[in-house]
Amino acid sequence: MTTRDDSPARAVSGLDLHAVGPYGDTLGDGIVQVSFSLPVPAGPEAREAARRLAVQMGLNEPQVYHEADLGYGFSFWILYGKCRHHVDVTRIVVPKIDTAPLSFEEINALVLEKAGRRLRIVGACTGTDAHTVGIDAILNMKGFAGEYGLERYPAFEVINLGSQVSNATLLSKVRETGADAVLVSQVVTQKDVHLSNLAEWVDMVEADGLRQDLLLLCGGPRITHEVALELGFDAGFGAGTTPRQVAAWLAQKWVQHLR
């Protein structure tokens, strides 16, 4: 989602992109730092336990750099070690949000000129999820990270349904309002319930025959664009998303959709 040029072509000279591992202070040293707590008091046995765990995590020559007894039978550990593993960066294909970053004015102009009307957007935090801060950050007038939320854009008409909205209720609302885009937020999860809930939402939209009329977005700290696509959404937005990124995506995709 970043707009920086971070393509592998810019990578460090002398690097083998087929076998990339962590960098400590020399290329290829594989040095990483891990930290964790153990439910045993600090001491020589706990230190050896921490080291052995690090070996099983794939680290060679693990060394304890910090240990602290946390009381109540717990201890805290920071270790350094050499990661045994590499990845072949050349074989990685990650779907990314591909729309151009536009300004507030450009987004409004694009929608109002090309679509000739405001886009109607319905947003909700669905299932049992009550974490509304994320979707509010994107939708509310005051916005997030120094950017206005979608409600502030003349190009968008926003209906924010709030928290714990069932997929069935969301679907009735979408039908009732004639929405153009639906923004679903999922923050909390247990046993991957956020994934089942999102999958059910897409199936419901398909079952109702509305899929081709709607842009479907989801977001939340556990969402990536790739997860969203696999679930059948048009886009997914993860942690740190700003409202303008979402607005720019909506404007450009809607204009494409009209064609």
Partner: protein, 341 residues
């Protein structure tokens, strides 16, 4: 004749593979089906709603089986995903769909290997890919559904469905069997045997509204929903039959039941339109009837004793438990290693 599924009927052209959950063994099932086609199906087609054939599960980070295709097979995927597999694929048709990984294409495998199936997200994409494969003379098509998504099982998309279930659904055999049973019950909603019900559904689909009739002899009326005054009047006066053209959730059946003075026969187009929790479906059925116009033809159940989450259940007792809930359906478990080598 199919090597692994000798009971595979000859009249199913498009076969959907749906999972009771993510990681229930859909890809393993797909590979076994692809490998099992005999000389009569030298060039099967395969596509996936979602992503299939990636090296690792992007969520859990564990290795996944890859989708393996033979020479002559056909695949539908995004053009950019072709580079991620080891199979060589010659592009035959562009279906018109565009994805982040390039155009959706249908291609013929010219050298066997693995493929990444990606880019198909909606039923319309699936329909376009199937149509292209039909034009190319593909005799059998497998459609893999992502997660527990049911869209591929829609009888207007596929002719038959294979359900994949497995240890990922629970840590005990009983848990897995119960959740598989719930899923099967969801897919096996019986067909309405009343001849008039088809016409009622046609009316509902034509107007894209709820259509209903008072029983025994009322005329067809359409309404915005069960709380629409015309609907309230009919429901309040006795027995009725209601056809819903789209998705059916808990709140809709609850409303219908609350307003009804008699018994309701509620009609869905097919089981993929039903999104009822097992509790709500059971409560509704105590007094009323739930039917579909077009049932799903379930071809069989595949059972994966390995859970990606780290546990394994004993294969034979697990298969026996699934057989016990599968009510006569063929049940198989493919003997493959859980992780690719």
């Amino acid at each position: 004749m199919h090597a692994t599924l000798p009971w595979m009927p000859q009249d199913v052209f498009v076969i959907a593979v749906v999972g009771c959950s993510k990681n229930a063994g859909k890809t393993t099932t797909l590979n076994a089906l692809l490998a099992g086609f005999g000389d009569d199906v030298p060039n099967p087609g395969v596509l996936s709603i979602g992503i299939d054939g990636e090296e690792v599960d992007f969520w859990l980070g564990v290795p996944k089986p890859r989708v393996e295709v033979r020479q002559g097979a056909f695949v539908a995927t995004a053009e950019g995903a072709l580079a991620a597999g080891t199979a060589l694929v010659e592009i035959c048709e562009r279906t018109g769909g565009r994805t982040l990984l390039g155009d959706l294409v249908v291609g013929r495998v010219t050298a066997p290997g693995s493929v990444l199936l990606a880019g198909i997200r909606s039923k319309d994409d699936v329909r376009a890919a199937i149509a292209a494969m039909k034009r190319l003379g593909v005799p059998r098509i497998l459609v893999d559904g992502a997660y527990q998504r049911l869209a591929a099982a829609d009888p207007e998309v596929s002719d038959g469905t294979i359900l994949a279930t497995g240890a990922v659904l629970g840590t005990t055999i009983d848990q897995v069997a119960l959740r598989t049973l719930e899923f099967l019950q969801r897919l096996r909603v019986p067909r309405s045997e009343f001849a008039d019900d088809g016409a009622l559904m046609d009316a509902a689909r034509r107007d894209n509204r709820l259509a209903m009739r008072a029983l025994p002899a009322g005329g067809i009326v359409t309404a915005d929903g069960p709380t629409d005054p015309v609907a309230v009047q009919i429901l309040g006066s006795g027995d009725a039959v209601i056809a819903i053209p789209g998705a059916i959730g808990d709140d809709l059946v609850r409303q219908c039941a609350a307003l009804s003075a008699g018994r309701i026969r509620l009609l869905a187009r097919d089981p993929t339109r039903l999104f009822l929790t097992p509790q709500e479906a059971t409560a509704f059925r105590k007094r009323h009837d739930l039917r579909v116009i077009q049932p799903i033809r379930i071809l069989g159940v595949t059972v994966n004793p390995f859970s990606v989450l780290g546990w394994t259940l004993p294969r034979e007792p697990l298969v026996a438990a699934i057989r016990a809930v599968a009510d006569g359906l063929p049940v198989v478990s493919f003997d493959v290693h859980p992780h690719p080598t």
